[in-house]
Symmetry: C2
């Protein structure tokens, strides 16, 4: 026997956690489909050249690389890598499938892998829940990203989120205005840290990066709301997207245009957005934007694109902390006990009747004393138990007990099945 | 622009294919839960030492290995690997979580990766749909594996499958009886090929592997049904498991005890089974067995275990070939057109009303001529379209058209929503 461990930064999701994750995924998926997004699945592995150079220098380092098979293995050569997000693989799919009718709206809910330094609450495997619209111009498609994320969060039960909205073209105009057109990325990287390091921190960082005091002072003026020459198109877009999002059902009180919102990824070209929970302590739970250049990197033809991504893990953590999940310990509704070897056929017939009626039902697999079977059912958190002893069998009855109320009664198997199936439907 | 490709042996699942895959997964998952199995998810990557030495020499070669990050990357060192199946990770989970209440019944539906030579219909990423029961002795738990697989295939609409059943202990007794106790694996490997190479082929293979003619002749006698000394316990188990499976609802006509069934994997210790489709041309769609030794390899304490696995891809291929899927081109029910910029708010209000009623609805994202919008809706395979022109708007009506029947009519938005939502419920 060797000591067993998980791989670094990985974790298992045991049933109790899976019940929560499945609930969140099902809800998000339903809202995605409601907006006309359709499912797509790309493989976990991509060619290494598909991924490299898309995520910036830091991102490239975090890509998990897979060893070649055969002779290359001995030489330590790599040819594939695990996907780092769901957006670059989507761009590859669009480039490889010219038959797709545009606009192409797809969702994908799937794990991605990043070799980040593991730390509390941060893992190397996590799920992204993405919708993207490929081939639609700026406007409705962008508003729809906000609306679908708004509805997904609302459907999960969140009521305290803010959608922050900006436009990369506005930030470019801003860089030009402070005479730093060639250092736009430096500026973005510094401003992007505002939430974490505050105004003084950003000012210090800009100084360190060689911005003059006058440039920094002017930058703050503009970030605080002074008119930005050359940002008219971006501002018109933001006003239009906001208006359309409200028409689609987004609560206007949740929308906030925020010039300081930068978003890290290189490939954004127009509106960018993120959604933060107030008092969440987890920061951003959703982010996205328009990336009109990425698909052209693969296909040669420029195709506009916009998308938004919800992070499963952060949502689940907050929902668990806030008690937003119904108290459900198990997906199993009924535990059918086995009174004795003689009564086993009756118990098997009973469990089968529950299952045939669509009820999740378990039968004791290792017939022990009845008390132990009840204890096992209770430990699992099952609501109902069934006993069929010789007396019940002779009378054509079963004993059904509701562990939630503590009430039990003898009734026919058909009536017991109807009772439990009915309680399910009532919620 | 560089030419874009998928990684070798990988593929994308476009929406049309995903609709089928999601349907199959949802059905299987529902049946798994109905039997009281609960969801578990293990990470895609495991430590390399967790996987190595579990799948035989050939299997080890097919494991995808992941490069170390940091300095190890330069040296081509590996420390992790992609999971090869869902059973070994489960054994690790059980060993690492002594708090789990036994029997522990879990399902996992997830991709696994094997660096097999890609060929028609065989990919390097594929889904396994597994149920396993950990900590229950041989008997009910084994029968339940057969019953849950039987019900899953039936729920998918299959009516022509056969469950083949054998016991590894019977094969061991058989090896002893032909005086080849030390060459049991050689014997199993040859017999396992019976379906592919026939009796003569197996005989030739056994000769090549050094079995004497008398041994081979005796082997065929035993495989054909002659009594096997020392196989009494295995035969009693097979009779018992068969009887219990029938009591759980398995059609007895589907069950066939078959002494030639070997199953490749090293770790089986008791009953083994596989399910084949008649006329499927795809061979085995489901396989499993009892593996009482595997968990002990990780935890030091022997814990009995049994499981069964359905292969998603083969099932989907056969179901597509047989036309077993409802003809559904898209998950979207309604396409709301945009008559003109002036009418956009009315169309957005309409699409919102459909979505709020739980109908999957799409609005044209790039308002073009109405004819083009209809064409797009038709291409997608959407059933219903909605038009709101100035006349309809003035009259408080919408035009709803059923592209399936070709019928259209003007009615209030609320009535249109009710009509479509009602049609959904009716199927």
């Amino acid at each position: 026997m060797s000591k067993v461990h998980l791989a670094k930064g990985m974790r298992d999701h045991l049933p109790q956690s899976m019940i929560h994750r499945q609930r969140v995924i099902a809800t998000i998926q339903q809202v995605f489909a409601r907006y006309g997004f359709e499912p797509l699945e790309t493989p976990a592995m991509e060619r290494i050249e598909t991924l490299m150079g898309k995520y910036g220098e830091e991102g490239d380092k975090l890509v998990f690389k897979v060893l070649k098979r055969g002779e290359g293995e001995q030489r330590g050569e790599v040819d594939q890598a695990l996907r780092y997000d769901l957006t670059v693989p989507l761009a590859r799919v669009v480039a490889m499938n010219p038959q797709l009718v545009l606009p192409f709206k797809r969702y994908q809910i799937a794990p991605v892998w990043r070799a980040d330094k593991p730390q509390k609450g941060r893992f190397r495997e996590f799920y992204q829940c993405d919708v993207d619209t490929i081939g639609a111009p700026c406007g409705l498609a962008d508003a729809e990203c906000l609306a679908v994320a708004h509805d997904a969060l609302s459907a999960l039960g969140f009521t305290d989120f803010t959608i922050r909205l900006n436009d990369r073209r506005l930030l470019r105009a801003l860089a030009i205005e402070i005479d730093a057109a060639d250092r736009e990325t430096d500026m973005l990287v510094a401003v992007d840290k505002l939430d974490k390091i505050g105004r003084d921190g950003v000012t210090a960082e800009l100084s360190r990066r060689g911005f003059a005091d006058a440039q920094i002072a002017r930058l703050w003026e503009l970030l605080d709301g002074a008119p930005i020459p050359g940002a008219e198109a971006a501002e018109a877009t933001l006003a239009q997207v906001t208006e359309l999002a409200v028409a689609m059902g987004v609560d206007p009180a949740r929308l906030r245009i925020d010039r300081t919102l930068a978003r890290g990824l290189d490939y954004y070209t127009g509106p960018v957005y993120e959604i933060v929970l107030e008092d969440g302590g987890v920061g951003t739970v959703t982010a996205g934007g328009r990336y009109d250049g990425l698909i052209g990197m693969f296909s040669g033809r420029e195709i506009p694109a916009v998308g938004i991504s919800l992070g499963l893990e952060r949502l689940v953590v907050v929902m668990e902390e806030r008690g937003m999940f119904a108290d459900q310990a198990t997906t199993t509704d009924v535990w059918v006990t086995v009174f004795s070897d003689d009564q086993l056929p009756a118990s098997l017939a009973a469990v089968r009747a529950f299952r045939d009626a669509g009820v999740n039902a378990e039968v004791s697999l290792e017939p022990k004393k009845l008390g132990k079977q009840f204890k096992a059912a209770d430990k699992r958190g099952v609501r109902w138990t069934v006993v069929i002893g010789p007396d019940e069998a002779a009378a054509g009855q079963v004993q059904l007990k509701d562990l939630r109320s503590g009430e039990g009664e003898s009734l026919s198997l058909a009536a017991a099945v109807a009772r439990v199936a009915g309680a399910q439907t009532d919620g």
